[in-house]
Structures are given as C-alpha cells and as structure tokens.
Amino acid sequence: MILDIQGLKKCFGGLAATANVNFNVQQGEIVGLIGPNGAGKTTLFNLISGSIAPDSGAIIFKGRDIAGQKPFRICRAGIARTFQSVKIFSGMSVFNHILIGYLFGDHKDGISGRGREQAAGILEFVGLSEMSERRAGDLTLASQKRLEVARALATRPELLLLDEVMAGLNPTEISEVMELVRKIKEKGITIIMIEHVMKAIMEICNRVVVLHHGEKLAEGKPEEITQNKSVIEVYLGDLTCLPSEK
C-alpha cells in the first residue's frame, strides 16, 4: 500500500469540502477519482499535495504521515501533481520546466550535472522533444498539459496526481494522453487521476473512487461503479422522484 487516507476532513467556513474520506491506493495502480462538480476531488488533491492542510485525519504515504506538510517537501518525498487549470511558467522554455522539476525534485544536483540528459529523456518520453526550446506559453493546450505531466515526472515521483489532464482536449488528443498514462504506469509509477472523460476512466483505471459532497460514495472496479445505484442517482438524480413514476 503506497497511500492510505484515513478520516480526512477539511472545512471551508461551514462547508465541509471533504468529510471523513477513507481510501487507499496500492503500488502500481491507476485509481480514478470521479464525482459531480463540487464533490471535493480537487480539494482532496490539494490536501494530498500539501497546498492546504487538513483539519483532521491522516495521509500515510509509504508508512509516513505527510498530512499538513509543505508542498515542496511532499514533492521531494515522491508525490507530484498537475493542475486542473494548467499552471506553467509561461515565459520559460519547455526544457527549463523539466530541468526545474529534475533539479528540485530531490535537490542534490547542480545545474551542470546529469540534469540535462535526464530532462531530454523525459521530453522524449512525453513526446515534446521537438518543442524543447519553445516558450511554454506559446504551446497549444494539449502540449501544455503534456508539459505539466513532464514537469511532474521530472521530479521522479512514485505517486502522480493527475487533475483532469484530458479536459478540453479533442478525441485524438485524449487517446494520446491515455497512451501516455499507460506508459507512465509501466514505469512503475502509481497514479490517481481525476477525470470526467468516462471512456478514459473505464479503459485505464484499475479502481474507481466516487466522491459526493465531500464523502466517499462508492469504490470499486470501473464496471461495478457503472452499475452502482447510488452513483447513478448522484449523476442523474433520484429516478423515483420523477413525476412520471407516480
């Protein structure tokens, strides 16, 4: 078990963004995190990656509680993330993004060390080699999302949190990203992904966790989840309430 989330709770004012969330992730899995808007998915990512501190509960990563630690420490411990709305260093070159991830991911090398070769390798891996010297702000959305994944990979994570990497992409781009996610898994990196593209969730996730109103509603294999009555209710509404039923 690489990640174990126990009773995680975070309130914003009176609103519980996540309330008593429990689940765990096994080494080498791809776990899908789904739920309607406002279910607390991104809040959960923010808690795991250290953007915000939980009110209570524990996040056990490789046997150590990392709840409430600073983002850079969590990154160096081996959890990398991407953002729902891409956060890149617009004015910097694609190559420098990767170099930053590599140099600060566990911060031992200087700038003239092996970083350059490694960074070139990562660019090759995600398929951005040709854009190495381009200004990141000039890339297309699909490439920027890819760049974020590359930057996260450069920090050499064991657990990768992908926040809607497929949102806003066209079907071709989506299947390319799915291919990339599979390749990352083959490298032995565990993945948790928030996604609204159900095709992707069904095809590549080993397990799916459904959040609703900050609580875990269901958990299981993708095909089980689609059959789950309460999940259908959450997405489509309570069918028994429809006037035609009466």
Partner: protein, 313 residues
C-alpha cells in the same frame, strides 16, 4: 563556434572595462573619481535590486531602507572599526533586516508587497528620526571621512562582488527557481522548490549589497541624518534604471544605471533649473519608445540584422 567567440569577446570587454575602472584615479581628476563613485553607487543599487525583483516580479521599494541601514551602521562604527569591516557589518545589518521583513511580508503579492516596502522606508526613517531627537538628542551624525580615492576603490570592490553574485545566481539552479517563482509560485512549490526560503534568502542577499554601498557612501557624505540616509529617491531610481536598461541579462541593468546616472549628473550640473523637466521628458520618451529598455532596442537591431542577412541570401 560563433557563440563562443561572442562569449570570449564579452569576457574580454568586461576585463578591459574593469581594468579601466581600476586605473581610473591615475588619469582623471578627483572630480571625475567622485562622479564615477556616484554612478557606481546607482549601478550597485540597480544590480542588487534586479537580483531579486527582476526574475520574481516582486517590485520592492525598500532599497532606501536597506541603504539607510548601511549608512547608519557606518555612522555608528566608522570611528572604531576598519573600512572593510564597516562595509561588511553594513551589509549584514541590511541582510538581517531584509530577512526578518521578507519572512513576514513575502507572502504578500503584487501591489501589497510594493506598498509595504514603501512604508518600511518611512517607518525606519521616522524611527531613526525619533530615536535621534528623543534619545541621543541630536539630529545628524558625523561620519569619519575618507579619501575619495579609497572610497572609490571600496565601491569598486562592492561593484565587482555584486556583479559576480548576480552572474552566479542567474546561471545557477536558483536563477531558474527565482524565474519560476515569478511565473507561478504554486507550480514552483509543487516542483520541489522551497519557495519561501528561496525568496527570503534572495531578498536578503540583494539587501546585503544595498547596505554595503550605503556604508561606503556615508563616508563620502561625512554628515548624515535620517532624510539623507533614507532618501526615498533611492528606492525609485534603481527601479527606473532597471526598466531603462532591461533585466534580461546581468549587463543590461549596469548599462541602464550608468547611462541614467550619467544623464542625471549632466542635467543637474548643466541645467539646474530645468533638470526635473528634462528628466521627466526623457523618462516619458523612454517608456513610450523603448518599453523593454536598452536591451529591447538591441534585440530589435539583432533581429533586423538577421532578417537582412536572410534576405541577401
């Protein structure tokens, strides 16, 4: 190959420039030496301002505060300690102040940070004034004056140091980190960068040189009081000079500050009555026609050259 030649010729020019500066007192009048001391003061302030504010985009107006702390350190210790030590203590005092202030305020962004740094100058200046009037019972202080050539060399040493440090930071991984912080602090933090530490240390490092140059300048002025030491103009000048020069590499701000300071000196001596008017006019022209400073103009020329050579082919 071409790149290497360019690099070596740049180094050669730099060494010649520094040699010229070192030998300056032997072939010019003492007026010129003082004149160059003033210019170097502005160059140091601008370069150290750019170290932090250039890549991160945190616009600091605290330069006068750190400079003034250096000035007052000099006033306190110039009698008892030797010159290098006074300069060093001036720098360290500013470093510590910037470290404390930075730890408290670098979570503020944009306008709020700028306003705070502006207020800091007023706060410290007024505190110094209050202290002098109520505790020591004086307004100003005398500083041991030194030969203008010694002061010139002291400031030249500080200049070389700040140049080296700027170059090192820009070409190390911390330069990359600072740049990424300027672009997106959140993404930087999630790439493993200790954002707070990098910001605070860099802010304090830039303050070190501001304090050091303040400690030297106090000895040239021989008399200091709070309005002189904490002159708010010294907060704005480095900012304007950096914009005028450009911040894309280490030498642009040096160039900007040199030309700007030279212009100021010429205008104040030749046209004492119209100085502000001319200066303001020049500033407006610069902002309208050279928004990216001297550096931007050079870039444009380079681009045109390249285009012409392409057309010839």
């Amino acid at each position: 190959m071409k790149y290497k030649i360019k690099k070596y010729s740049l180094y050669a020019a730099l060494i010649v420039g520094i040699l010229l500066l070192v030998s300056l007192p032997s072939y010019t009048s003492s007026y010129r030496v003082i004149f160059f001391t003033n210019i170097l003061m502005y160059v140091i302030l601008t370069l150290s301002w750019v170290i932090f504010s250039g890549p991160t985009g945190y616009i600091s107006l605290a330069t006068a505060a750190f400079f003034g702390v250096g000035v007052y350190t000099s006033a306190l210790f110039s009698v008892t300690l030797c010159l290098p030590l006074v300069i060093f203590i001036g720098g360290i005092a500013s470093f510590c102040l910037a470290f404390i202030v930075g730890s408290l305020t670098l979570r503020l962004r944009g306008m709020y940070f700028t306003m705070f740094t502006f207020a800091l100058v007023q706060l410290i200046s007024n505190f110094a004034n209050w202290y002098e009037v109520n505790i020591t019972g004086t307004v100003g202080r005398h500083v041991i004056s030194l030969d203008s050539i010694i002061i010139y060399y002291a400031i030249l040493v500080v200049f070389c140091l700040v140049l080296l440090v700027s170059y090192y930071i820009r070409h190390s991984k911390y330069g990359l980190a600072l740049q990424s912080i300027g672009e997106s602090e959140e993404a930087a933090a999630h790439s493993g960068i200790n954002v707070t530490l990098v910001k605070v240390i860099t802010f304090a490092t830039s303050a070190f040189f501001m304090g050091a140059v303040g400690a030297v300048m106090a000895m040239r002025w021989t008399y200091v009081d709070p309005p002189i030491a904490f002159d708010i103009r010294l907060s704005f000048m480095p900012l304007l000079m950096a914009i005028f020069g450009g911040m894309g590499n280490v030498l642009s701000p040096v160039m900007g500050a040199t030309i700007f300071a030279y212009l100021e000196e010429i205008l104040t001596t030749k046209f004492p009555y119209y100085y502000m008017l001319l200066f303001g006019g020049a500033m407006l022209l610069v902002i309208v026609f050279m928004p990216r400073g001297i550096e931007g103009v050079f870039r444009k020329l380079q681009k045109n050259n390249r285009r012409e050579s392409v057309e010839k082919i």
